[in-house]
Subunit: 259 residues, 2 copies
């Protein structure tokens, strides 16, 4: 299966890891073939997704022979599984860690939803600031991964992170007891789809950079607070909106009358 080699590599710190574990560590000259393939794969995946990224494009970008991919990683799917999980495992781990911490210390009574949203997105913002982990590209990568249409990527994410996702769904349900399960499911669905496709698009990320620039003072924490200050109320507003208010119903019926 594709998961056989998932645990023995950490990218992009691959070369260091090999040295740590006293692995063969041959081929120390310049960047090792494996590392360069992984970097090229990530770069091209961000732009084109899984299906549209060919092994020839990857090996050309990496300056490496075509056969190297199958030699080092077994198959295209195993290569991409490695690239995806190395990014997303750390992200989801950090998310759940934050959720644990907040559940232990108790949520803010009136702003639980905002806090849950912050919990989901803060880890991504922080990783996006870590240059070693790809900097800005991390958000693009995240968007691509969750928006990718290939069955392989969708199944990988759904199966591997099902437990973590369920934790958050459960937490939101507890924070919004007045919302029918039906409506909550729809709204969370909306919210996550929106985030993914937005992160993947270029202009939306520039917009987020603009939000970060409105921070008072320019510490990293202030920037995160600024972005979440725009994002969380917006999303929380959608989750909390009341359904079927009579004045709204009347307004909608006016539109129906014209159609």
């Amino acid at each position: 299966m594709a998961f056989d080699m998932l645990s023995n590599l950490s990218f992009p710190a691959l070369k260091i890891r090999e040295r740590e574990f006293g692995k063969p560590a041959r081929n120390e000259g310049r960047a090792a073939t494996k590392t360069r393939i992984l970097a090229a794969t990530e770069k091209l995946f961000i732009v084109h997704g899984f299906d549209a990224t060919s092994l020839r494009a990857i090996t050309t970008e990496a300056g490496v022979n075509l056969a190297a991919v199958n030699y080092h990683f077994g198959s295209k799917e195993e290569l991409f599984a490695l690239v995806l999980t190395n990014r997303l495992d750390t992200l989801n781990l950090e998310r759940v860690r934050l959720l644990d911490a907040l559940e232990e210390n108790g949520f803010d009574a009136v702003n639980t939803v905002e806090q849950l949203i912050a919990t989901m997105f803060l880890p991504a913002l922080r990783l996006a600031r870590n240059v070693e982990r790809g900097g800005d590209d991390f958000l693009k990568f995240l968007g691509r991964a969750y928006a990718d249409s290939s069955p392989f990527v969708r199944n990988l994410l759904a199966e591997r992170y099902a437990a973590q996702n369920a934790r958050f769904v459960h937490a939101f349900a507890k924070a919004l007891p007045e919302l029918a399960a039906q409506d909550l499911s729809m709204r969370l669905h909306f919210m996550l789809d929106a985030i993914s496709s937005t992160l993947a698009s270029e202009d939306a990320r520039k917009l987020m950079a603009g939000l970060a620039a409105t921070a008072t003072g320019d510490s990293a924490a202030n920037e995160d607070a600024a972005v979440l200050g725009h994002l969380a109320p917006f999303l929380a507003g959608s989750l909390r909106a009341r359904v079927n208010q009579t004045s709204q119903q009347e307004a909608i019926r006016t539109v129906l009358a014209f159609a």
Copy 2:
């Protein structure tokens, strides 16, 4: 270009059109090859999208020779352009027509946003009820089209419907003057991405059917009102949410403290 033959066909009423215009009208026996190809294309596009739908899959589904596509439509792209625009032209026309009617008669003062949202989605709901136009499949089709990742589809939609989209952006901006252009752009972006990918997914549409079932009385108009009664307040809530409330900011900073 792909648009050469866009104007001379109307699907699915193709056979009738040919007769109307006194076209050759040969090959009247059974369903004409063209019509069957168009139907098969639409069916497979809904499930697999543009890239993953091969001409061989289409011609097999249609029970037609492989070469028929290039003979009747010129190329794969021209075929899909025809399928896409025949659906979306009518939709966008109806949307703008509704918008015109409401702008002329004046919006509800306090619920303009809800009305604008209803204006955007009501035409889709109505077309989805028209069995001749594909019934339920129309919503799947719509979701696929706007979520498709292929450059061809994205460019087609962006270029062809740029003017209509701008009309709605402008209307929302007028209805939400207190919202910075930056925030409005982000929120509309979110909203539309969310709608598309939600329509494309199977479970979300079952959910909408569930909402429709909550209607009092079961006329078509009541069902539309029920769906919009859940959808519009939810989306309006997200568009209207206030940014940077101090209590929310405090709650978010609590989360930052744990990270």
